[in-house]
Symmetry: C2
């Protein structure tokens, strides 16, 4: 093999320092998940295709990685009819494929593939809850930190394999959950040192209320998309776009307060309750938002800002109550670093009705980039050894290994250079590995039962007995 081996596009290798930094973020998130009473579960990397297909829309189905049936898929005791049209098919990217051919293709794919890689953590969680409903105490607060896979076109910051960190509660409609999830975001980002994070909150019922008010629920997405551009194209620009999208002038007049939607949370809630006076659902949304915002503000956040944002509409077809999204601190150009919301019927797709769920997700890769950009990884985040014993030959090595054995038993990360190489090479190795101390045990040290400890940053050297050595390294 002349060529260097490579990995599939959209995937990554992680070096020791990258693993250490990622684990620092994972461990912080995990610690807070557990403090907040969430419990870990893990689900298999692949699910039965029928568990995943049809749950993420047509686009999602296309992005699911499918696994070929193992062994020989012709040994299934069934005849596999390959679509004749496909056999002779030669499609350039410019050409199209007929619907009939696509149907045949899908049928064929289903025959040779019955499993698929996890696409997110929510559908497997719903499947888990239904499958294990008799073993679970509800409300069930679970967290899950596992990779997911999407056959998206890879680009900067978008990968085909990436981790999701989700916390969800299922089986309770209490709005205290939403209050807690805002606190959870605040706690994690505070601990990571990410100051100035904004937690945006909205409610699907507010959006439905607006639809009612503008008299056209089918225009809601156009409406929110346009309104979201207020910062960029100004009020006139937004109104122009709305008219172009077929929203009536009358409707636009009705929701005029949204064009100047500023003020304190209390003021915003007041504006909304006036605007949505004619919509029962809208008013319910206002009450839910009021409960969440008032309690969050009264109990207090450590650092994050809570921002009621009526344009927030992520997963519009999915969420039924609260909607969350977290923006990175101002000045860092990065999309959302987290999001979530409430879905009244989490497990209905698997036959268990009336299970309300609410949850949030942390975007590990983007959080990593933000923490890196702001220089917030602690210097102690490393997996490397504290000290390395240099190797001066067999009897010195044996003397070193006896000390190492005792130091490790005391929990100290320490190693010996395995070969009796030139000392310059050994020092260079220690330096490149980022190890703080070299320990030199030559004939003299061995004779006197001592250790020569060299601080590789300062160059300072001292001769120590074992106890003093252990104390310094501990």
């Amino acid at each position: 093999m002349a060529q260097k081996p490579s990995i599939p596009k959209g995937t990554r290798d992680f070096s020791p320092i990258e693993v250490a930094k990622r684990n620092y973020i994972f461990n912080t998130i995990r610690a807070h998940f557990e403090r907040f009473g969430y419990q870990p579960i893990e689900t298999p990397t692949f699910e039965n295709s029928e568990t995943l297909m049809g749950k993420y829309g047509e686009e999602g189905d296309r992005l699911i990685f499918k696994i070929l049936n193992s062994g020989n898929y012709f040994f299934n005791k069934q005849k596999i009819e390959l679509p004749r049209s496909i056999e002779s098919l030669q499609v350039n990217s410019a050409e199209t494929i007929s619907v009939e051919e696509l149907v045949q293709l899908n049928q064929f794919t289903n025959k040779i593939s019955e499993k698929a890689l996890r696409y997110d953590l929510t559908v497997p969680f719903a499947r888990y809850v239904v499958q294990h409903q008799n073993e679970i105490e509800f409300p069930f607060k679970r967290y899950q930190i596992q990779p997911v896979w999407r056959a998206d076109r890879p680009q900067k910051g978008r990968f085909r394999e990436f981790y999701q960190c989700d916390a969800d509660v299922v089986g309770s409609t209490s709005l205290w959950q939403e209050v807690e999830l805002v606190q959870l975001y605040d706690s994690v980002f505070f601990d990571l040192g990410l100051k100035g994070v904004t937690i945006k909150i909205n409610n699907r019922k507010i959006l439905s209320g607006i639809a009612e008010v503008i008299g056209a629920s089918d225009k809601l997405i156009d409406f929110t998309v346009a309104l979201d551009k207020l910062d960029k194209i100004g009020e006139d620009g937004v109104k122009k776009e709305m008219l172009e999208k077929g929203i009536s002038e009358e409707a636009i007049v009705k929701v005029q307060p949204l064009f100047n939607f500023t003020g304190t949370t209390a003021e915003k809630l007041e504006k909304l309750s006036q605007l949505l006076a004619g919509s029962q659902e809208g008013l319910k949304g206002v009450e839910e938002l009021r409960f969440i915002c008032e309690n969050v503000l009264e109990i207090g956040l450590k650092d994050s800002k809570l921002d009621l944002d009526v344009t927030l509409a992520r997963g519009l077809n999915y969420y039924t109550g609260a909607i969350f999204e977290v923006s990175a601190p101002e000045g860092v150009s990065m999309g959302s670093i987290g999001g979530g919301g409430r879905y009244d019927d989490l497990t209905g797709i698997f036959g268990l009705k009336n299970m309300s769920g609410v949850g949030i997700s942390f975007g590990l890769d983007r959080i990593y980039l933000v923490v890196e950009e702001l220089g917030l990884f602690p210097e102690t985040v490393t997996s490397t050894s504290k000290a390395i014993f240099l190797n001066f030959g067999e009897s010195e090595a044996k003397y070193a290994m006896k000390a190492i054995s005792k130091l490790r038993a005391a929990g100290i990360k320490v190693e010996m250079y395995p070969d009796n190489a030139k000392i310059g090479k050994q020092f260079q190795y220690a330096d490149k590995r980022g190890i703080s101390y070299a320990i030199i045990v030559g004939g003299e040290e061995l004779k006197n039962n001592v250790y020569n400890l060299k601080n590789l940053a300062s160059g300072e050297q001292q001769t120590l007995d074992f106890e003093s050595l252990q104390n310094i390294l501990q």
Copy 2:
């Protein structure tokens, strides 16, 4: 969907307590890996098929899970010729498939699948080392704890998705690595409380030497397999089997000492050096074993027993030096709970020559079963909350949430029952979740700014101010 959803055979869901127990083992292994100077890497879940195929033998190739090319695999601007013979193929498990058909089938599979799930951690590690050789300081001590996938027939204790925990050094031939790997096994199992573990050691060169001595290297596997049955079928039975396998009587006489291969390690080494006097390679193996065993014994193990076992031959075609295998404590019926060895040419398959590697692996699932069977999981291994505030209504809940917010900031795992449900139901929930304390704040407590703490095991109750509450829970 009327039927309860399920997961693919050979895969598992892990409940909160199972995740906590598994993490206890992972964390123990990881802590010792790092103490011994090993550094973590992670590689992608799927590799390019060409990276994996052909590395595990024919049987291995068959057990590799292949991933369908994403999107529409007919959009590759190439014509895919489906084998006509397969189109009309109808194979029952009883029928056979012709070689020609199989070739066509493989060609077809390769066209629709270019990626495959990781089958072990060693081949991806070799690929990683070659790909990143310019960024790595050698010798490179890496550890890796990730799942692997095999399309094996699932059975008790054998899964299609399972974790491997590997530590390997690449780029050094120093036998101190072998010494250290024995100590690493000993340290991990000692910390897990697994007393009486046996670390078996052998050397491929000893086996080659025996082959030389019996004058038939092609009979070596038959020879070791037969010898391994000494306990069960006795010396006569073993000799009978050897003769049946075509090993000459003369050869059997030569290796007579192996039939009574007992005594101290020093005695065993002495027997071997006499037996293998005629084999240069065999004597080299004896010297390697002598260095490893003598140093291990001189520096000392915490609890495990080191056992020189000449019948140990795992991965015969793979290892070139030391061979390791760990047996569970006596009395626990379980196969090996770990294994490893040295391979002189780890990265040659990817074009980087002369890179010796040595490593060991921990079998997570089996270790889990042993720790469970012996009741060695500490009682503190749980992810559940320390205390739960019961919910008596909105103002009490708000009072509780304020306290919870402060307790969590102090790192205490605590939660509130989200709904104002019947108190019996709330207590039952706390009990089933295994939570130690319930905290009751009704109108009286709220008025007096105190908390009523109930120990759910003893039933004991006490009224406390916030500070005392925090002190008890901490």
